[in-house]
Symmetry: C2
Subunit: 140 residues, 2 copies
């Protein structure tokens, strides 16, 4: 059997860890705030965007999903009033998405939950290592 490289070991570990962690966070957010991690990431990106507004395609890019996933994800989010549609007068093809006050509220609350849960899940890593890990993840 050929010796496995550190790189494929990282891929595997990343795959496994992320599966576990995502599931935990998803369940927590879902139970408490009624949204999943994907929805949370949408809100996060909208919150940080200039004018709290983004095109659907940019959301898709930002969260690593396809445009169709975003379309379907936003339907219920719009229905319950977390986001709203905004037209773009320069380009009739795009339908902009804007976070609402209700959406911002949910986002803020969910952030607290996410934070707390993340700390518990990553309790084996001290804050020194955490910074290091974050840097490494960002450089990928």
């Amino acid at each position: 059997m050929p010796k496995e490289s550190t790189y494929s070991a990282i891929s595997k570990s990343l795959w496994l860890n992320s599966a576990m962690i995502s599931k935990h966070l998803d369940n927590s957010l879902g139970a408490i705030h009624g949204i999943g991690l994907s929805e949370y990431m949408v809100l996060l990106n909208l919150e940080e965007a200039p004018g709290q507004t983004l095109r659907r395609i940019d959301i898709a890019e930002a969260i690593g999903r396809t445009a169709s996933a975003v379309t379907r994800m936003l339907m219920p989010m719009e229905k319950i009033g977390l986001v709203e549609k905004v037209a773009n007068d320069r380009d009739a093809r795009v339908s902009l998405v804007k976070i609402t006050a209700a959406g911002r509220e949910i986002f803020t609350n969910a952030s607290v939950t996410l934070d707390a849960k993340s700390k518990t899940l990553l309790k084996n890593i001290d804050s020194e290592e955490a910074k290091l890990l974050l840097d490494l993840l960002h450089s990928i």
Copy 2:
């Protein structure tokens, strides 16, 4: 807006990175060897298991999926002969899974692909950092 903790930043980064990386690896493995990352991980665990045999529940545990996911995943894998069912005479509830010669062959080939692809995906990380990152991921 409350300052976000390093820990939740790690969760988010882990979520995003893993989505991207998994998709790439999944596509590569699928196109070349006809299996996904999950199937690969099943084969990996079987290969490393004593007697190349595991209970379905242990597979589920090892790859972070539920028992039902494993049941459905194994059906096609058994059909194309990557794994085979083995009865357990001590306990009639369990149906053991064993990797076949064909399965081992696919696994070995897929490992090469996975390795190469992982190196390209993680090319921004040198081997020093890679070891560090792997350690951190394992300690989660």
